[in-house]
């Protein structure tokens, strides 16, 4: 069969492509899973906030000529600050002890953000073109763009940085203490509300980093978050809610599944694979592939 031969030849490039995209997914999902693991809330606005970060990178590049990778030093702290304020002054006050309220408020946030973006940036997709946009690298037969490879490395490095932050800093220890036992942490004198807001802020900082790595090979539009929000949730449930390693592996896995799905089923139907996995995992293994079943 000529068809299967073609697919065979395309398999390796698709795999490489999937892995590079998967690393970005992992970074985005890491932010989401950190927020879930500590605050036990689902941040539905995660995709829209990624979109905000992408526009920030775009504007910095177009208006001020700042290189996307250099923009890291602006966008990451910027997203961090936004995250802190949002959690402390918008999301937390709405909770009233019900998880569904958080879901609704973050849904509200995503509606606001997306529509403001549509208003100010119009609905067209935008891309940037840098000196290295079209540089290509050959990886044992899979030709892949240079920024793609950089994104892969950058995303993995960010994940590593986050792991170090969580393991070896006081903040990281406080976050882990709150994640395990918020009441107990309060008793031993940890400012739990501050830690909550910091966790949310770090979660969004991940989005900032992801945006800087993503934009050189991707695009931005007001709706760009849609695709990412469900994918990030899929990664998170696949890896087990709140699990770091799970998110990393899950991210790479979803990247590969998506890429192979596109190869086998075609561009448009290929996306279904991810959602079907999402639904099936939630139904049959809600603790994720790597989590304990309760």
């Amino acid at each position: 069969m000529i068809d299967s031969a073609l697919i065979g030849a395309a398999l390796w490039p698709a795999l490489v492509n999937g892995l590079t995209m998967g690393a970005i997914y992992a970074l985005i999902a890491l932010g989401l899973t950190l927020i879930y693991g500590v605050l036990h809330i689902i941040n539905f606005a995660h995709g829209s906030l990624l979109m905000v970060a992408l526009y920030a990178v775009l504007v910095l590049f177009e208006r001020l000529g700042i290189d996307p990778y250099a923009a890291l030093v602006v966008v990451v702290p910027g997203m961090f600050g936004i995250g802190y304020v949002l959690q402390r002054f918008v999301i937390n006050p709405a909770r009233h002890g019900r998880d569904e309220n958080t879901l609704l408020v973050t849904l509200g946030l995503s509606i606001v953000i997306e529509n403001l973006a549509s208003h100010f940036f119009k609905t067209d997709t935008r891309q940037i073109e840098t000196a290295y946009t079209f540089m290509m690298v050959d990886l044992a037969g899979a030709v892949i763009s240079m920024p793609r490879l950089l994104a892969f490395a950058g995303a993995l490095a960010s994940c590593l940085a986050l792991a170090v932050l969580m393991r070896s800093t006081d903040l990281g220890r406080a976050i882990r203490a709150v994640a395990r036992e918020a009441q107990g942490a309060r008793v031993v004198g940890i400012d739990v509300d501050h830690v909550f807001a910091m966790s949310f802020a770090i979660g969004l900082a991940c989005l900032g980093a992801a945006a800087c790595f993503l934009l050189p090979t991707y695009y931005v539009s007001p709706q760009v978050g849609h695709g990412f929000v469900l994918i990030a949730f899929t990664v998170v449930v696949l890896g087990g809610m709140g699990s770091f390693t799970g998110s990393l592996v899950g991210g790479l896995l979803v990247g590969v599944i998506e890429s192979l799905g596109g190869l086998l089923l075609g561009e448009s139907l290929g996306q279904i694979g991810v959602f079907v996995i999402f639904i099936v995992i939630l139904l049959f293994r809600p603790a994720g592939l790597f989590g304990q079943r309760t």
Binding site: I42, F44, V90, P93, A94, H96, D99, E100, N101, T102, L103, L104, V105, L107, G108, L109, S110, I111, V112, I113, N115, L116, S118, H119, H226, L230, F233, G266, S268, L269, Q271, I272, F275, V276, F278, I279, L282, L283, F284, P286
Partner: protein, 341 residues
């Protein structure tokens, strides 16, 4: 202090405690109120002459239908769906396919669409609740379902894929298309009243009491013999069927659908926003919410000019403000105070 009353003495209506009389009278009060509202709305076109205002009310009633549908599962059942567009889209596409490919009249689409919406609700409910999905997870699964259907509708030929479907213009009550604004107004009113009547039934029936019990404490409900899964599945089916009717209305009103319009997240948001604004788990909440939101978006359009994105953003703000400051909704402000005074 308390002397146990001998069992077996049925309280006659006259000497029954006021709380019993009040609870027993709920159905009758509700029917009377809905009757009055229905009559007032039916007479409205006699007073409201401008096309603009009649359109406004038609769309608010259509929104009431979507809100009531969502409210049956989300408000009375406590299961928040973020993907009610699934049912809406199935209804709309069923109607369109029957008319375009089978040449059947539109009313068959309304019936078949509602039936399919109900069946889809039962199926979605069965797989979700059978596996103990709840809270935020249920919301996410419904959202993913809507996305799956959007992608399918985008990819298969008989839905016209990304191009969408257009129905023939044929006016006449049997085709559920109307030449006058009044026609659509009464069509929307009829559907909204059905949805409100169903809500009222849910509120006061045995089924509704079981549903509320499951919402408020599932374990306690099971201990009292309520099949929690079955009740939630039934609520999803009912909700899905009404939502699908909303999809058919959309089709008949705009004559055109595409995957993003009917399976996209905007529809799901419209369905949940009304009840949250008006009052979750109340019969009139979706009606109050729909009219309040329609009014707000009118005012916004007038203040901000034609900027649809900004009015949508305003919806988001309203959602945040409602959940933060008025989680019980507008409709309960007065009622609640009255009840505990």
């Amino acid at each position: 202090m308390h002397t146990p009353a001998p069992i077996g003495r049925t309280p006659a209506a006259a000497d029954a405690p006021p709380a019993v009389v009040h609870l027993l009278g709920g159905t009758r009060r509700s029917i009377r109120l809905l009757g009055l509202i229905g009559m007032a709305l039916a007479c409205a076109p006699l007073v409201v002459r401008s096309e603009f205002h009649l359109t406004f009310m038609t769309l608010a009633l259509y929104s009431t239908l979507l809100g009531s549908a969502w409210n049956i599962l989300g408000g009375f059942g406590g299961q928040y769906s973020f993907g009610h567009a699934v049912f809406f889209g199935l209804g709309a596409y069923t109607g369109a396919i029957l008319q375009v490919h089978a040449g059947l009249p539109a009313w068959t689409g309304l019936l078949a669409g509602s039936a399919i919406g109900g069946a889809a609700g039962a199926a979605l409910g069965a797989i979700s609740f059978r596996y103990g999905l709840r809270g935020s997870y249920f919301a996410l699964v419904t959202l993913a379902m809507a996305e799956v259907f959007r992608i399918i509708a985008n990819s298969v030929p008989f839905t016209g894929a990304g191009v969408g479907m257009m129905i023939e213009l044929r006016s006449g009550p049997a085709d559920l298309q109307f030449e006058s604004r009044q026609g659509y107004y009464y069509f929307a009113l009829a559907l909204a009243l059905v949805a409100l009547a169903v809500s009222s039934w849910v509120r006061h029936s045995r089924f509704g009491a079981a549903l509320a019990a499951v919402r408020d404490n599932e374990d306690a409900a099971r201990a009292l013999g309520i099949d929690a899964t079955r009740i939630k599945v039934a609520a999803t089916a009912l909700s899905g069927s009404l939502m699908a009717a909303g999809g058919v209305f959309y089709l008949q009103y705009f004559h055109y659908i595409d995957p993003m319009l009917v399976f996209g997240p905007a529809v799901s948001v419209e369905a949940l926003l009304g009840p949250i604004v008006g009052g979750l788990g109340t019969v009139l909440g979706p009606l109050i919410g729909a009219f309040a939101l329609a009014l707000v978006s009118q005012v916004a359009t007038q203040a901000l000019g034609q900027a649809p994105a900004l009015s949508m953003a305003l919806y988001g703000v309203i959602l945040i403000v409602m959940v933060t400051f008025l989680p019980r909704g507008l409709g309960r402000l007065r009622l609640r105070r009255g009840r505990h005074a």
